[in-house]
């Protein structure tokens, strides 16, 4: 299932985030903008990632997104037959639709939270 960490703090469009850069142990990186990996680790270690996930779950529940995904899964399972469906199948089928249907307001809110967090923990 898609997670909030797929959002990238760059000026690219919000609807199609580019893939994360490959990890590098180059020490020079520390003086430049933090990499995606570094941000991710900061979020996890501070516990902020878990809080963001909870917030995201709450928002997606409120707007009916979770019910929508459940319905999609049910429909797919009904079509294929209960014993012919795996978790991977379901993830594969609903991920693109799921990502596309996250409301922009939710994306904006999460992004704002991440920005605020990074600003408050800047070295």
């Amino acid at each position: 299932m898609s997670h909030s960490h797929k959002l990238v703090i760059k000026r690219s469009s919000m609807s199609r985030p580019p893939p994360p850069p490959p990890p590098t142990t180059n020490k020079d990186q520390q003086h430049q903008n933090p990499s995606f990996q570094e941000i991710n680790i900061k979020l996890i270690q501070s516990g902020e990632k878990e809080r963001l996930k909870e917030l995201l779950r709450e928002r997606l529940l409120e707007c009916g997104w979770i019910d929508e995904m459940k319905a999609l899964c049910r429909a797919f399972t009904r079509k294929k037959g209960r014993n012919n469906v795996t978790v991977d199948d379901l993830v594969h089928v609903i991920s693109p639709k799921g990502r596309a249907s996250v409301p922009n307001s939710v994306k904006a809110e999460l992004l704002q939270r991440i920005r605020a967090f990074l600003a408050s923990t800047a070295d």
Binding site: E50, C63, G64, E68
Partner: protein
Amino acid sequence: MSSKISGRVSPQPCPHLLDFCSRNGSKPFRALQDCIRVKPPGGRAAIRREPFEVPRCGTCDESSRPRLYACVACAAVFCHAPPIHSHASAHALSVPGHEIAVDVDRAELFCCACRDQVYDRDFDAAVVLAQTITSTTSTSGSTVTQCKATGSQPDNLRKRRRVDYSLWDPNSRENAIIENHSIPLHDATNGSLISSTELPWGLRGLNNLGNTCFMNSVLQALLHTPPLRNYFLSDRHNRYYCQQKNGATRNGSKNSRFCLACDMDAMFSAVFSGDRTPYSPAKFLHSWWQHAANLASYEQQDAHEFFISMLDGIHEKVAKEKRKTHSPGTGDCCIAHRVFSGILRSDVMCMACGFTSTTYDPCLDISLDLEPSQGVSGKSSLAKSNNSCNVEADCTGSSQNCGISTLKGCLERFTRAEKLGSDQKFFCQKCQVRQESLKQMSIRKLPLVSCFHIKRFEHSSIRRMSRKVDRYLQFPFSLDMAPYLSSSILRSRFGNRIFPFDGDEQDACNEVSSEFELFAVVTHTGKLDAGHYVTYLRLSNHWYKCDDAWITRVNESIVLAAQGYMMFYVQKMLYYKASEKQAASWCDVRK
């Protein structure tokens, strides 16, 4: 393909899991127990070797993949993001016996070879235990040792001694006694005699004694409540015997002469006598006035208030006579509670530490709010994606999307976890201070007959006004209460676990079904202070409108369109389908 445990279907393990368990036993799963972290308090379980470990894929060093799995055999962590990356699958293929892994963020077992979720009872029990411990440990240091998910069993539901059912075949002497002392009911086997114009047995109008439609409507529903009807018609409360007993005891108390159960008994006898002329429940009204002195007037009253009041009146009298202690949960005290009493479970979870306080309360009915669905404006963005998804969304499930209020929607809202406002902080035993809390209701025990009361009358003391909510509510003919049971609600809190939750074993033992059938609807039309109550009854597959003294047969579409105020559902197994001479089918697809 799957076996039934505790009445619930559990998936069979895949061959890799079976193989793993046979070779390693449950040792690896128990080792995982130490790695279960529950954060935030009362929240989800994750797998971490160290509390603030950042899991990374052993092959590509990525920590940001959506799914990371730890191999249960060797504890190595791998990513799984098919079809591009799946180092977890690569590991499973390269090292035999290392197919089983656990999702580090969800604490769910996964078979990397089958690419599907698998379940293990011991593992699930360990996860639930870990999540439960955080929500029940108090500062005194006592921990939960039993592997039951939160809350101890309510006293009145401890295992009761069961008596084996034995068939009773009356002998000829007993047969003679029965025949000589009873009046035969309408012979149901002679179905051919029932013409379509003839009303079914037990239908009789009730005269309005002066704004008493609130009473008549409820009485009509009760006269056709199967367990209540059976109780009185089989002479379980004999009014002659009861009055004789009361006459004998000269307590001097005037109230001892009034017995609502006796008046009900008289009413049942009159209504089921076959006489079709409207009956005047004057004696019943008078008795009820004695009981509810503050409501004794010829003014219009609230039907629901009357319903609760008269059940209470029956209880007071009958329970006192039987000298039964007030145990409304089991319904041993009186017939009113036996029929209508259920048990509600309330969980209040402190949002700071996760400590959950559980209470059980008996209830005679469930009052539901009829608010317009929240977040309707937020749906606009989903509406567009709806069209592109090309899938029929379950409209009754996510009723918010459709904009119609449904009974199921109300029940979903009733059992939803609700954040108590900052002005309603709950005192947390663990924190020893008032904290913001999350409250969730669920049904611990279903009654024989469920009465749903829709809160259509709002009385606001602040605004010093009352108003009526006319909003239409859709209600089904058949209702499955399973999703609102405590076992279901708890299960959804802990995620996908095979684990017996509060109420699971109980229900399995009793084989109590959660399926209910609608048999009566009390409706209200008009304004708050100038309105009229009417009851629709479902008998022998037909609907009948009971408007005080006038009974008419109506089409079910009229009932479906009516403004439901109180809906009465009876457990399906108690709902005897009388004669089904008409071709109409029972399976009502409209839910």
